[in-house]
Amino acid sequence: MVGSITPEQNATAAEACLAAINGRFGGSGIESSIVNHSNDKKYAFVRIVCPPQHWIALAKWMKYDLGVNYCSMVTGTHFPDGSPERGWEVAYHFLRQPIQNQKPNTCTVHDVEKLSGMDIPMEFEVFMPLPQGDSPTVPSIQSIWVGADWNEKETWDLVGIKFEGHVNMHRVLNPNDSPEGFHPLQKQHKLRYHDHNEMYDDPQGFMRKPADEGRIK
């Protein structure tokens, strides 16, 4: 049995990452903390809140000095009712994975107990609040992680976050001829919830007069 990463290893690695980030970026406006998942295992991960102007420096440092080699997810969120400083938010999720190229006819089977330092897998979450406005913009990390390329395309396509410096940005999930400025996950595009009565009393909809007609639910 290979075993799994133990909570102690996980906690130690998270603290080491936090110390490294604070040592390098302390006082620059980048805030980092250790957060635990609230499900059973309570595993720890590192959460960083980073202003956009420091993002490229932080991203390069994470990739080349902290060994964060996996950009798994880029999520944009629209907060039209949020505070003036937080009208949008981009959340990045990264993983550190102990992976390297293999020589032919070899494989690496990590013994969990012997893993230490940079080899311990770790999750990173980076939040980037953006001010209210029509054109939320963050610098692109396409050139740092190849995996960020399509993630950023998707986030622009669906949410409308602009990634400055992204080469070959185009629609991926919406049709190519979608109108400019149409990004369906922005909150001004409302989705109605058809409740039970509306759906089943008159399935063909001839007489449909929902109680909340004209109102957005």
Binding site: S4, D40, A91, N101, P104, V146, N151, L191
Partner: protein, 379 residues
């Protein structure tokens, strides 16, 4: 010779779903490729914003009909992280068993679709026969054949029926023998080896950089597995090890390695299911009533403002992730934003680029070996 663009898809046997691969060819050699996605984009993330947390599970089932159980589980773990729900241990075991049975069914579907790509039609009929055994098992749990809506926030919908465990053991043991049969048929078939070996190389580091995960990376010789690295459920309590291949070239894993690693993963899934049935708290032949505290804990339905939940889950094709933000409509009854990360969304553009330099006839082999699924890609 003049170069030209060929459009393969959206309807093409190679694509395993609806997407377009545009290939630039020089004679028979692929010199450039472009992937086009989005043909079956359903806007699941947007729909989820108008549903409450429990209503989202069926949508997650439908992200990928081949592995509905793992996708639903993946969402459930994110929702539990957000809502701070506790899960009874028996429910975790049942989830593990159901997810591994689903992994068997999904890998069989992959192998069954991969065979005809290579010209081995027999494989499809064999795999469909065996997959049906596992779909029957999942049907006993969830009630339907493909979209189960089985896991609940805080547990599972219902307990394993009486006799389920015995049927699982019988079918898993039978399937372990069948796996040997498959290997006898495939590993000694010259056509199979010639079509797969030395085709579609991909190195571990380039795959990780591009966001590829799961069996495709393990085929390149690294035992990284979410179940091992960020253990959720009870994977740290049962007996298993991540399957890993030894690639034969400095260029990384070829199609044959990716085929081998999935065969090995099916063995590991069988091992996990059998071991979990022995260790399940409450006994394998007990049937607790719906909502019993052994299988279900009532979870809060409203998320606190500003809370977030994240799950990293080893789906059948790699790491599937959900990121859920609470505090939406109905005073937090709905999520404010659900973001779904599908392993295949990043893999397909990567695979398109690995085809460069190979022949057109290799495209189905390369694409098929990465196990594409478009339902989860387009969401």
């Amino acid at each position: 010779m003049a170069q030209m663009w060929i459009t393969m898809g959206p309807q093409h046997p190679m694509t395993h779903g609806l997407w377009t691969l545009r290939v630039k060819v020089d004679g028979e050699t692929v010199v450039d490729t472009e992937a086009e996605l989005g043909y079956i984009h359903r806007g699941v993330e947007k729909i989820c914003e108008a549903r409450d947390f429990t209503q989202i599970t069926p949508y997650c089932d439908r992200l990928c009909y081949v592995s509905a159980m793992t996708w639903a589980n993946s969402y459930i773990y994110a929702a539990e992280d957000l809502l701070e729900a506790d899960v009874p241990e028996r429910a975790e075991y049942i989830r593990l068993i159901s997810a591994e049975i689903q992994r068997l069914a999904s890998h069989l579907m992959w192998l069954g679709a991969f065979g005809p790509d290579i010209g081995n039609l027999t494989l499809m009929t064999w795999c469909m026969r065996d997959r049906e055994m596992f779909l029957d098992l999942l049907q006993e749990l969830g009630g339907s054949r493909m979209h189960y809506n089985y896991p609940r926030i805080g547990g599972v919908k219902r307990d394993m029926p009486i006799g389920f465990a015995d049927r699982v053991v019988a079918k898993t043991k039978l399937f372990e023998k069948r796996l040997d049969e498959y290997e006898m048929m495939l590993d000694e078939s010259t056509i199979w080896l010639v079509r797969l070996q030395g085709v579609g190389y991909a190195t571990a580091e380039s795959m990780v950089d591009a966001g590829v995960s799961g069996p495709n990376v393990r085929a390149a010789g690294v035992n990284y597995d979410v179940r091992w690295a960020h253990p959720y459920s009870v994977y740290d309590e049962i007996d298993w090890e991540p399957s890993v291949e030894k690639p034969t070239s400095v260029k990384g894993a070829d199609c044959y390695d990716r085929y081998r690693v999935r065969m090995e993963e099916m063995r590991q899934s069988c091992r996990m299911v059998l071991d979990a049935l022995n260790k399940i708290p409450g006994g394998k032949n007990t049937n607790y009533a719906n909502g019993d505290e052994m299988i279900f804990t009532k979870a809060p339905t409203r998320a606190p403002e500003g809370a977030t939940g994240f799950s990293n889950y080893e789906c059948t094709r790699g790491a599937s992730q959900f990121y859920v933000q609470g505090g939406g409509e109905g005073r937090g009854k709905n999520p404010y934003r659900v973001s779904i990360r599908s392993p295949m969304f990043l893999t397909i553009p990567y695979v398109a680029k690995t085809m460069i330099g190979y022949k057109i006839a290799d495209i189905p082999a390369i694409m098929g070996s990465f196990d594409p699924c478009i339902g989860e890609t387009d969401r």
